[in-house]
Symmetry: C2
Subunit: 127 residues, 2 copies
Amino acid sequence: MPARPSDLDPTIAARLKRDADGLVPAICQQYDTGEVLMLGYMDDEALHRTLTTGRCTYWSRSRREYWVKGETSGHQQWVKSVALDCDADAILVKVDQVGAACHTGDRTCWDADVLDAVAGERPKQSS
Amino acid sequence: MPARPSDLDPTIAARLKRDADGLVPAICQQYDTGEVLMLGYMDDEALHRTLTTGRCTYWSRSRREYWVKGETSGHQQWVKSVALDCDADAILVKVDQVGAACHTGDRTCWDADVLDAVAGERPKQSS
């Protein structure tokens, strides 16, 4: 069930699978370069606003309020496309990001903390 | 706290921020094309195995077991890099995906359900 009242299209709301807090993770990606910018969370109304205003809106779990990305920082996310995944429990939003997506000032939220990893290599015969 | 015993490097485990089930969302991206392939979940041990084996390992929330991507389907994910985000509560794994990432046979989990969205356009003066 939605956690808060929402104007989201009922045909979308009916198939959305939310977590215990009524939220769905939303991956935000730069539409042309493919950079994964950040991961936010949307409730039904945040998704509705993202679909209808041309700007990304999230639910801030810490502040417990709607958060129009860039409203204070100026680093807006202009929406290019929105899709639900195969299980309707994860959203992919492609945007045009103005400036830094990360609150640290980095372009993306994954720029600063790359872990040591053993790289894998596909066998030559697989395609 | 980790939900299950793990050999994850304690310096990584100490800063990892897990949800109530001990999990962290992991975005999986094709390393060269930038396609966002799927969203999975990792506990400490799944992250450890992803970092050390060259293959993506998730925690399956439905089956409640470790899940080496591609073990039954043949659609392996060969690890290229792993990073934590600025809050250490989301993982980005860049991989070389063999075949389809989605269990439906689609290349990515977002190929089939694109929503109608009003597109936004950045003002001409912003950079």
